[in-house]
Amino acid sequence: MSEKRATPLLDELEKGPWPSFVKELKKSADTPAVNDLLGQLERSYEEKIGHWKHGGLVGVMGYGGGVIGRYSDLQAEFPECAEFHTLRINQPAGWFYTSDALRTIADIWERHGSGLTNMHGSTGDIILLGAKTQALEPIFAELTAAGFDLGGSGSDMRTPSCCVGQARCEWACYDTMGACYDFTQTYQDELHRPAFPYKYKLKFAGCPNDCVASVARSDMAFIGTWRDDIKVDNEGVRAAAAGGVDIQKEICDMCPTRCMAWDGSTLAIDNSNCVKCMHCINVLPKAVKPGDDRGAAILIGAKAPIVGGALLSSVFVPFIKMEPPYEDLKELISRIWDLWAEHGKNRERVGEFIQRIGLGNFLEQIGLDPVPEMISAPRSNPYIFFGDEVSEGGQA
């Protein structure tokens, strides 16, 4: 092993109250790859530029995704991190672990890699950071033997993720972890063998608080909600008021539809105008609760800016009961994937695809009826592609 790299700039980042990634790196400073990584990173800090090159195709046999190839562009100087690939390991739903499971991962990764991880990647995977090409198959073999598998990368279904849901949260309107696991298992092939125009992400959030940011970063977001009335325990409301919550100001005046009235002793809700935003429930968790007729709204099409600009996802199914085995949903997903696979352009996310062909056409193609919940307002521009049914005395 080459001598210990000097890292005066990085050392600065060992100071301060926030946990230090430099300390984490240095815990493996004896590992040659990490020693060289520290050296290369210090160089980046000096020069203000990264020193990684494009990946190229590396991976495990029979899989098209799950590994991100990475090479140093200073291989001569930092030979030990010349190859420094990451593996994306499909996390357990809800990111629950036992201490044994964590140790199992640590042991495998110690035997074959840098010892560095991300817990977790932004998509949700366990990231094993820094493997050589030749180590990939052995790691994969040990991981699968231990019950783990790779997640997605490239133009495939990406590793689904979910909020903690019914495991610990009283607001979960459906079983997010159950659904996440079920869909992940159903789509193992789509996850591991890229065959789409571009990536396709699924995320499962148990209620409109959306603790897994599904509305912003998944091609398909399953967000829990309910259809019936909010449950109000007015004794609880009064207790909160007595405890210092200004019900009028903090609750009624902040309701987006102002559908609540408070007379000092009763909180009345016009449920027909409640949009299930969660605010009153969030502020009064002991007194106000989601209704009993629970399910999810499904939204489609979120993505980051590349290429056509960032998108939030948009309503696709305003309400559905989320019950295994989710057959109707899987049927719907197949139809979407088929259409998109056939007509989507290379690197066109489904949200962009829908905008290009028109939401109305998209719905028609996959056989879903348009409903006004899908839009914030009807069109204002009069450029309507009328079909033949509109004509000769007819009316649309």
Binding site: K276, L299, L312, P318, S376, R379, F386, E392
Partner: protein
């Protein structure tokens, strides 16, 4: 040619020549106003002077005989002073309140009803239609007359929650502010233009025609050896802009032209920001002379608003308060793919949240 110098670029007459003395005196010094009853309002100046306004409907298309009648009324009751409004009503400007009722009686007798103030339906801003324009997908004056005959009570009463502005345009050029009206009635073509290939080379500049199409549906083509254009029909949404620049692209179609209805736009900044009208009824057939389907829907929409909106709320403000899904439910308009925008900024109209009223 006459010997006197030809006058050009003199511009309009200076308005001061036409102002009533009380206006000249109190110009910029008005203090407040009051609607005394439907069709009659008074403005009070800081000086204490008053001017009374009597507003009457006109069909906008006015015969000079009518102009002369108005002039006579103005002479009789208003010292010769009157004006027209931005919605084509006529306003008689009086200083002597004693003249108000006789004036109203005369106007009513001649068929020019008095009203349109405050929380009411005023005149319909409209366009030429079959009376004068080549692009019209429907008539203008006839539709307007048919609608206003039905909504007349809302012109002479003041029982609506707020102002309700209706506008009409006979094609997508939308002459008039129809795109920001509480209710917009809009003539639409629904089939691609038919190209007269023999005329194209004579009458049209091919690059301009190609450039005119918002969706790129027109492209150059050689037809029977001559230079012409062709239309990719799936890409045409019948805006008629190619016809505007090329008369050989005939868009009018007796069988498939008709009318669409749009709701919830506004112009004023009061309470909410100005907004575009949104599609309500995609298509209704042309059924002259009285367009019963169109009249029926407009009336229904007005009634729905009258019953449900809160005081001061405009149509669009009411709909936004209750949400579009409920609007479709209440109105009974079947929601279809036509309601979903698919032009340039379509994605901006998708519902990007789960804030949904779950029925």
């Amino acid at each position: 040619m006459s010997a006197t110098k030809r006058l050009t670029d003199i511009g309009p007459p200076h308005y001061e020549k036409f102002l009533p003395p009380v206006v000249k005196k109190n110009y910029g010094q008005w203090d407040h106003h009051e609607i005394l009853k439907q069709g009659v309002m008074v403005h009070v100046a800081k000086s204490g002077d008053k001017i009374f306004t009597v507003r009457a409907a006109t069909p906008r298309l006015l015969n000079i005989a009518t102009l002369r009648d108005f002039a006579t009324l103005a002479d009789t009751y208003c010292g010769g002073h009157l004006r027209f409004t931005s919605r084509n009503n006529v306003e008689f400007l009086l200083t002597d309140p004693a003249n108000i009722e006789p004036l109203i009686a005369d106007l009513t007798k001649s068929g020019y009803p008095v009203g349109g103030l405050g929380n009411a339906i005023s005149n319909i801003v409209h366009t030429q239609g079959w009376v004068h324009c080549h692009s019209a997908a429907t008539d203008a004056s006839g539709v307007v007359k048919s609608i206003m005959d039905e909504l007349y009570p809302h012109f002479v009463d003041m029982k609506l929650p707020g102002k309700l502005r209706i506008a009409f345009a006979c094609c997508l050029n939308m002459c008039g502010a129809v795109h920001c009206s509480d209710i917009a009635v809009l003539g639409v073509h629904t089939r691609a233009p038919k190209i007269d290939h023999t005329s194209v080379p004579k009458m049209c500049e091919i690059p301009s025609v190609v450039a005119s199409c918002p969706t790129g549906a027109v492209r150059p083509a050689s037809v029977g050896g001559a230079q012409s254009v062709e239309i990719i029909e799936e890409q045409c949404m019948y805006c008629g802009n190619c016809f505007t620049v090329c008369p050989a692209m005939k868009i009018n179609n007796a069988k498939t032209d008709g009318i669409s209805i749009w709701v919830g736009g506004k112009v004023s900044n009061a309470r909410s920001e100005p907004k575009f009208s949104k599609l309500a009824v995609p298509f209704l057939p042309n059924n002259p002379p009285r367009w019963p389907e169109v009249v029926g829907w407009v009336k229904k929409l007005v009634e729905l608003y009258a019953e449900n909106a809160r005081k001061h709320e405009r149509m669009g403000e009411w709909i936004e308060r209750i949400g579009w899904p409920r609007f479709f439910q209440l109105s009974g308009i079947p929601f279809s793919k036509y309601h979903i925008d698919d032009f340039k900024h379509a994605g901006e109209t998708f519902k990007r949240s789960v804030q949904i009223r779950q029925v």
